[in-house]
């Protein structure tokens, strides 16, 4: 048998029949789409397995979307329901919008993983379980009185009972230096090999990945590779896995692709934005789930001049960023909802100082500590209104993991051009989910060149040249960015109300009104530089508009596609900018008989649309810590259509 990675790079998938000594195999069956979920204990390496399977799948040219789902505890007690970690991957020969409602295949590494995930598995779907883990003790831990493997309760599923652990250990019998525990640890690679065979994924890049990960430990490296090969062979030679499947590449625009998570894309977008602005990127950040990967990624980019300062708290994180911005750098802070609450006062200061600042909020379930590892969109109103006084702040929201890159650049554009703090609202799903990304041409990214003030721009009362820190650009209403070190531009700024033009302290009532209006007008004016809200309405005569923002883009688009496939008519629109709204937003939402607003919160956007445009927007609001399923949105759309 040829090893999968030493064969011609890609397992035979054509009409040729694969053979080996014992079994004659039919050609892989073609499928259009597959959803696989790997589930196991937090210590079973399910995230790694999922990541690797994703990388191989991306390499085959399928479109894909992923949904990691893991507990907040680093290692909850072994074998318990709270300790279950899973990774879902949806891949197809066409464009994929969501990680998939329900798995076609569930790999359950123990009884807890089975119990936690079985409800999501449609009857008839494939179920692969590690029978070695179904001991009386493990069954008892999750409340199974009898083994579901033998009591008939799994009869409606296509069950593959595989003694994964013991076969892995057996396959590694020759590795005398490794303990049994070490060998058992490789069982995720066995499962990976088996699934790779089932879905005709090559394993080269994973071999290379293992080499870079375990290069210093040749025993472990060899064992992992051997376990992987054993999994592949097991699929190929075992009667019960009669068929392999294949999913053809999806037609995608030409280009060079990679797979990317939202947090990585955000970090790279910030670097690219700073690069295009000619500014040093300074991140002030305090570790918080699910935003910490942005800090991790940026802290590794010193070669790009990126400074990361891990602060003593959330407030210091944004203070450091603001101090750096005052000094002429691009100040950025990254956090999640609880941190955004702590940063509120400093964001207000940045509004008053009118300095560029980017605030990344990777939203998670709330209130308070809430659901740290789960997704939610319930910080929209906090981002918009969560400060004392009238403190308008532009808000940008990415709609998919790869889109985080473009959203970050857009935030840098607004922050630097308008001298304002900008909030980017990502979320836990975007942060850890991934999808293929068509790499951009750097030179084609927007030119964000910043001009610092170098000259005095006015005269004082006695007619001498003077610097006026709050004299504005007539077009953008941005004030000059005059950085320390520039002779003649010495000036003082602060959180006390500024006199228009001169920036001196002012308690004058009319001046306060004027400055408040100017700050709002400046943010409102951004609308003239953003694309109008686009509507997708193929039939051209839909009664219902579904409008969303942020990470609900995929499920909404998938649901609309399904409704249309069934003959229904529905229009969709998706907001990248929440503040200000695109200029045509009112016209669009007023143009439909019904407006449905699906959100992973209590109805924030619906509230804003109602208030701003006096329309009877209907909210479909859920906070389950998980992205919407296509199915539930189809139901919501159909219900709205029927009532229209």
């Amino acid at each position: 048998m040829a090893l999968p990675w030493s064969a011609a790079g890609y397992p035979a998938t054509s009409e040729v029949t694969m053979t080996n000594d014992t079994v004659t195999r039919p050609a892989p069956t073609r499928l259009r789409r597959v959803v696989i979920r790997f589930a196991g204990d937090s210590g079973d390496g399910m995230q790694l397995t999922g990541d690797r399977f994703t990388a191989e799948t991306a390499g085959v040219g399928n479109d894909l979307s992923t949904l990691p789902n893991f507990p907040a505890e680093i290692r909850a007690p072994q074998g318990t329901l709270p300790g279950v970690s899973s990774f879902q991957l949806h891949f197809a020969d066409h464009d994929v919008l969501t990680p998939g409602d329900a798995p076609d295949v569930l790999v359950a590494m123990n009884p807890a993983a089975l119990k936690a995930n079985l409800a999501d598995l449609p009857r008839g779907a494939t179920l692969i379980v590690d029978t070695d883990e179904f001991s009386a003790r493990n069954l008892a831990k999750v409340g199974y009185a009898a083994s579901p493997l033998t009591d008939g309760s799994l009869d409606s599923w296509h069950l593959h009972p595989v003694p994964l652990t013991s076969i892995t250990v057996e396959a590694l019998a020759g590795f005398e230096t490794l303990s049994r525990k070490d060998k058992e640890r490789a069982k995720n690679m066995f499962a990976f090999g088996l699934l790779s065979w089932m879905y005709s994924r090559p394993m080269e890049t994973t071999k290379a990945f293992l080499q870079s990960k375990f290069g210093a430990k040749p025993d472990i490296l060899a064992a992992n590779i051997a376990a992987m090969e054993a999994g592949w062979s097991y699929g190929e030679t075992t009667e019960s896995f009669a068929t392999a499947y294949e999913v053809a590449p999806a037609p995608m625009p030409s280009g060079t692709y990679r797979n990317i998570t939202g947090n990585t894309a955000l970090a790279y977008g910030l670097v690219a934005g700073a690069h295009r602005a000619g500014l040093r990127l300074v991140l002030g950040s305090y570790p918080i789930t699910p935003a910490s990967d942005i800090l991790h990624t940026l802290s590794g980019l010193k070669r790009f001049g990126v400074m990361t300062l891990q602060a003593e708290d959330e407030i210091a994180g944004i203070g450091i960023a603001l101090g750096a911005s005052f000094g002429g750098a691009l100040g950025v802070t990254s956090t999640s909802g609880p941190g955004l609450a702590l940063k509120a006062e400093t964001i207000g200061l940045a509004v008053s100082l009118e300095l560029p600042l980017v605030i990344i909020d990777v939203q998670r379930g709330g209130p308070s500590t809430g659901l740290p590892t789960k997704t939610e969109q319930a910080d929209l109103l906090q981002a918009m209104f969560g400060r004392n006084g009238e403190a308008p702040v532009p808000i940008v929201a990415p709609r998919s993991p790869a889109d985080c890159f473009d959203a970050a650049i857009e935030a840098v554009r607004i922050a630097t051009a308008y001298r304002t703090p900008v909030v980017v609202l990502s979320d836990g799903y975007l942060a850890n989910g991934s999808e293929p990304w068509n790499l951009p041409d750097i030179a084609a990214l927007p030119d964000l060149t910043v001009e610092f003030a170098t000259e005095r721009n006015g005269v004082d009362e006695s007619g001498r040249p003077a610097f006026h820190p709050y004299a504005r650009d007539p077009k953008t209403l941005a004030r000059p960015w005059a950085v320390p070190g520039t002779a003649g531009l010495e000036h003082r700024i602060g959180g006390i109300e500024k006199a228009d033009i001169t920036g001196n302290i002012s308690y004058d009532p009319d001046n306060h009104q004027r400055m408040t209006d100017l700050r709002q007008a400046k943010v409102d004016g951004i609308a003239s530089t953003i694309a109008p809200l686009a509507v997708d309405d193929p039939s051209g005569d839909a009664d219902v508009l579904v409008i969303g923002w942020g990470s609900t883009y995929g499920p909404i688009a998938a649901a609309a596609r399904e409704v249309r496939a069934g003959g229904g008519r529905v229009a969709t629109a998706h907001l990248r900018h929440l503040a200000p709204f695109p200029a045509n937003t009112g016209d669009i939402v007023r143009g439909y008989r019904r407006v449905l607003v699906p959100e992973m919160n209590g109805g924030h956007l619906a509230l804003l649309l109602r208030a701003r445009f006096l329309i009877d927007a209907q909210s479909y609001a859920r906070v389950r810590g998980l992205p919407f399923t296509t199915g539930e949105l189809v139901d919501a759309i159909l219900a709205t259509t029927e009532s229209a």
């Binding site: 991306a58 040219g61 890049t205 590449p249 625009p253 030409s254 060079t256 692709y257 990679r258 797979n259 990317i260 790279y268 670097v271 700073a274 690069h275 000619g278 500014l279 040093r280 300074v282 980019l301 010193k302 070669r303 790009f304 001049g305 990126v306 400074m307 300062l309 602060a311 003593e312 708290d313 407030i315 210091a316 203070g319 450091i320 960023a321 603001l322 101090g323 750096a324 005052f326 000094g327 002429g328 400093t346 068509n438 790499l439 750097i442 030179a443 610092f452 004082d460 950085v483 320390p484 070190g485 520039t486 531009l489 000036h491 003082r492 700024i493 602060g494 959180g495 001196n504 302290i505």
Partner: protein
Amino acid sequence: MSLTTQPRSRRETGVDPSPLGMPLPHGLASVPRLDPDGPAPTRKDYASDQEVRWCPGCGDYIILNTVQAFLPALGLRKENIVFVSGIGCSSRFPYYLDTFGMHSIHGRAPAIATGLATARPDLSVWVVTGDGDALSIGGNHLIHALRRNVNLTILLFNNRIYGLTKGQYSPTSEQGKITKSSPVGSVDTPFNPVSLALGAEATFVARSLDNDRAHLGEILKAAAAHRGTALVEIYQNCPIFNDGAFDAIKDRDQQAARLVHLVHGEPVRIGAEPSRQVLVRVADGALRFVAEAEAAGAGEVVVHDAHADDPSQQFALSRLDGAGMTQVPMGIFRQVERPTYDDGVRAQIDAAVTTAGGPADDADLHALLAGKDTWTVE
């Protein structure tokens, strides 16, 4: 286009490595200096056009005057000096200086200054704060700035009261103090800012008095020259809400008997001839002032060592003064060299950029975005 490693406006100018004649590493080593042949700036050059609005008689006036008079001596370009403050009476300070300045929010100035000083080695960054600002709402930022040893100078005006909010007890108010918010006396135990700073790994800690301009000027000079975080506690009188808090040590008759002028390398003394006393470590390890003539028999004479790495004795000196202000140490408690945070952050970046052969360009950025696993769609 390449990634700039400095904001474009920064000018690389020749730097005198040793302003003020201090040994390296110097706190101002990377800050551009004035042309020595050009006109010398005066105190007037450092006064802004804003009307000063503290209450008549406030100690802040004297400190402002001292600082305005002192800044020209630094020999820096004034555009490279930045004062960052928090909230409180003292935090209005930046408005009155014709340098760059930011009047920020309550307690956060050390964090903001950390970002600024790290991003900009060419600036002389000063923080002006008060006892409420630095030790209450901003306590966390203060201790972390001190332990990191960021290259900034923090002037902590300690008037032992909340002035701007009209007279509540502060974290340095004495226990039992009657104020608007403690009508039957404060039950809080106060902080000793010098002890706190020493405990927070500070590398430079000093104390001075608002009306002793010569002493304050000397301390400011040493603080500016220090590379790392310098904390200067300045006892400041608030004539409105806590008048006379420091009268005991300002009164010319009593001053000599109560002030302990710390001088590195000198025995620690209090009082004037003929009743001068010297500090000795007695048999049980305690510190006690005894008449100079009796010192030899009483124990080991304590010689102040501000450069000692072990802060134990410096800490012991900070504890000499009880509530009664009977033996108040003034001067530099601690002055040691330790690598600074901002130098460390910049060194890591410089090393990475140098190793990579220079600032990143479009191709480097493209390689970063591509990562290791890519595929091509025709």
